[in-house]
Amino acid sequence: MTAPVEFSREERALFNPAFMALVSCRAVQGHQRDAGSCPLPIAVTAAVMALQPAIRAILPGTTRASLPKWAEDNQAVRVLMAANAPGLAAMVRPGILLSLQTDLLSLDQSALLTLRPRAIPATITGTSDTVVAIQKTAHMLGRWLPTGGSTATTLTLLGVRP
């Protein structure tokens, strides 16, 4: 658990816990829409993926695409995740912590996250394109990642270890 003070001002602003909380809440929101409450690793993975522009560019346009096939076709994903996941996960974690502390998300016995209703705005709006894109992607990943099978399978496909 790292204190936010150790980062530069820019990083502190760009990956501030509030935004991270918002992004992970979006992922949980997307997950809840289709597949019920969200496992913690999935929420973290979705947020980490959504934060990377390179991955945002190659994601499929529809949630009906096959996750295994996509991961097979785009081997670059595994490389990108291996390179950036640790650092980004360190950024995402305080966000999830903040949302847990402020009761946006709640954690049950089996490490499943549920979003409190009306905790975040239902629609995604914003003046900055990047911010909107990140939130949309996180929401879509929350819906799409569970289609790949169990959590373990999904994480293996993406080359991430919880």
Partner: protein, 647 residues
């Protein structure tokens, strides 16, 4: 109404030598015999007597012992006797033929009565007429020309030589020769009756109308050329102006008479002197000015670029800052429920910084960013206004440069004009000369009587005719004829028990072949196997065509000559005594003869088939049709007596 062959006559070299081969019109005639008895000569002689341009009779006994070949053709109660002498040196065919009408039932003329008076063309024309071919019809042939059908074209469909009757590649007679396939394609529509005789007349009328139209147009243009053209007068006035012969510019809309008077005044005009302006200082000045303007222009451009860059940098920083601010502002979106003062992580109970502290940090960052953004966004309008001012200066400069260039051009033109003074005097003189010529012509132009302008009517008539002719009724009629004939062919193919006859079979005019449309794609005759199929489809196609010709009364000889259809059942080099067949081959061959006989009897004496055959079958259908049997050297086309005497 058309003809059949009544008899074939040969005259030997000696007086009194005459061999008449009588044939039965309206029936199947079989001439059976051993090899080399002159069976094939029957069709070559027929071809030769019908006005062939070459000498088809093969070298051999027939060539050696015959001096004159003759045919007797029957049409109703008319009889035509054709004779043609064998070539002198056995290569160039005889240029003249003997054609004589006879009363019905008359024997061939005697040797002394034969009188070769018809040149080849005339003989062909008479034969075509005798056959009923309308020589006035022009068939649209390929390559945009037209041709008349003749008896020679009809023979494509009446003969089948030994190498054609079972040929997988060639369906019709002489299809293998150069340009023949095209001729067959062009003439078949006429023989099928798909060519409208009216059409030829219409085509002729159309051609006539077009020539008329051309004539009228030519006359009209001649008249127009003779009259003085106002356009020309105007052009000359413009030239006079540019040559400096006219004091004031003339309006474009002058009438012809006015124009003529103006031109007349030009002739009395003498070109004035042009001044020599001293313009060297001016050019130097202008050049210097231009240099200066250019350098200033470049400086301003550079300044503007710098300013724009500053602006762009600032705005990109603004975008970044805004992005960060937006992310920090996420805090406002979170509907926090508790104040989050808990010191413990809800997940693992470890000590963490309370949420309050985090939120506090975020708020501080936000404020700092906001002040930055305000500071930056303050001076961007200032930069914008500076750029605008510079741009304005640039515009002014551009206008200056343009003015400078225009001045320079005007000066240059003046200089050039001065230098060209001599040539201009010359040019003025030449213009004057042309004007005087034009005026003389105009004065001399007598007003010819006005030509009746019938172009409108002619054009209307031509378009009407083109519509009538262009609606391509011929293609329609042709395909309907062919589809009826295809049905006949398919029926016959089924009775002959041919391969692929269970599928639709059609006569393909483009390929000039029979094509069976199987589910696996079209199968042309050349792709089918077995000589039996080739023979069968040839027989089926030709019989069907002749049935059609007879039913429609088309002008072809009602004769089909087949040379050795049975060859496909014998080995190719077969030359033995056996003339009967056994088993499957025999049944197939009998089926062929049955089909021929059915067609002949169906057409009720309106169709004659002549078959030269090596085989000799015992069955009734064959035996009753045999007219000559040349076996064991006792008989042949050339009587053995001629040969003995010749030696």
């Amino acid at each position: 109404m058309t003809y059949q062959i009544k008899s074939l006559a040969l005259y030997g070299h000696r007086p009194g030598q005459m061999r008449v081969l009588a044939l039965n019109p309206g029936r199947l005639n079989i001439i059976t015999g051993d090899s080399r008895t002159g069976k094939t000569s029957i069709w070559t002689i027929t071809d030769y007597c019908m006005g062939s341009s070459d000498y088809p009779v093969r070298a051999g006994k027939v060539r050696d012992y015959t001096s004159i070949f003759a045919l007797q053709l029957v049409r109703g109660d008319q009889q035509l006797f054709i004779a043609r002498s064998a070539p002198e040196n056995s290569t160039t065919p005889a240029p003249r033929l003997c054609l004589q009408f006879q009363s019905a039932g008359a024997p061939p003329l005697t040797r002394d009565d034969i009188d070769f008076t018809f040149p080849l063309d005339a003989a062909r024309r008479l034969l075509s007429e005798f056959c009923g071919i309308d020589r006035t019809i022009r068939i649209p042939a390929a390559r945009g020309t037209t041709m008349s059908p003749s008896i020679r074209h009809a023979l494509f469909f009446c003969l089948q030589a030994q190498n054609e009757i079972a040929n997988p590649d060639h369906l019709f007679h002489s299809q293998g020769h150069e340009w023949r396939p095209q001729a067959i394609r062009d003439t078949l529509p006429y023989f099928l009756g798909a060519v409208d005789p009216e059409q030829a007349i219409r085509h002729a009328r159309l051609r006539q109308l077009r020539t008329e139209l051309k004539n009228v147009e030519r006359q009209i243009t001649q008249v127009a050329q003779a009259a003085p053209a106002p356009g020309q007068a105007r052009a000359l006035i413009a030239e006079a102006e540019s040559a400096g012969l006219l004091p004031a510019p003339v309006d474009d809309t002058v009438s012809l008479d006015e124009a003529l008077s103006i031109l007349a005044s030009v002739l009395t005009h003498a070109p004035g002197e042009l001044g020599y302006p001293d313009s060297t200082d001016h050019t130097a000045l202008l050049d210097r000015e231009r240099q200066e303007l250019r350098s200033r222009h470049q400086q301003i451009r550079a300044r503007i670029t710098e300013l724009r860059q500053t602006l762009a940098e600032e705005s990109s920083y603004l975008v970044q800052a805004r992005d960060q601010r937006e992310r920090l502002a996420s805090l406002g979106l979170l509907g926090t429920a508790t104040d989050g003062t808990g010191q413990h992580c809800p997940v693992c109970d470890s000590v963490v910084s309370p949420a309050q502290q985090t939120i506090q940090a975020i708020r501080e960052d936000l404020e700092r960013l906001d002040s930055d953004v305000a500071f930056v966004s303050d001076d961007s309008p200032l930069v914008q206004s500076m750029i605008a001012a510079e741009e304005e200066q640039l515009q002014q400069l551009r206008a200056e440069v343009v003015r400078n260039r225009e001045q320079r051009q005007a000066l240059d033109a003046g200089v050039r004009e001065a230098a060209r003074y001599r040539s201009q005097a010359l040019r003025a003189a030449s213009v004057q000369g042309r004007i005087s010529l034009f005026l003389e012509n105009a004065a001399r132009a007598e007003h010819a009587p006005p030509i009746a302008d019938t172009r409108e009517e002619l054009n209307r008539e031509i378009t009407d005719l083109e519509e009538v002719l262009g609606s391509d009724t011929q293609a329609d009629r042709l395909s309907s004829c062919l589809s009826l004939i295809n049905q006949k062919i398919a029926t016959k193919a089924r009775t002959l028990g041919l391969e692929h006859s269970e599928h639709p079979v059609r006569l393909d005019l483009r390929r000039l072949s029979i094509v069976a449309d199987t589910p696996r794609g079209p199968v042309p005759l050349s792709d089918m196997g077995s000589g039996e199929n080739w023979l069968g489809y040839h027989i089926a196609a030709l019989l069907s065509l002749h049935e059609w010709f007879a039913e429609q009364g088309r002008p072809l000889p009602r004769v089909l000559v087949l040379d050795q259809p049975s060859q496909v059942y014998f080995p190719s080099d077969y030359d033995g005594p056996q003339v009967d067949l056994a088993g499957e081959d025999r049944t197939s061959l009998l089926r062929v003869y049955q089909a021929i006989n059915d067609t002949v009897s169906h057409l009720d004496a309106g169709f004659q088939v002549i078959v030269m055959e090596h085989a000799d079958l015992e069955d009734d259908i064959f035996r009753t049709a045999v007219v000559e049997r040349w076996r064991g050297g006792r008989a042949a086309l050339i009587p053995p007596a001629w040969i003995d005497q010749g030696d």
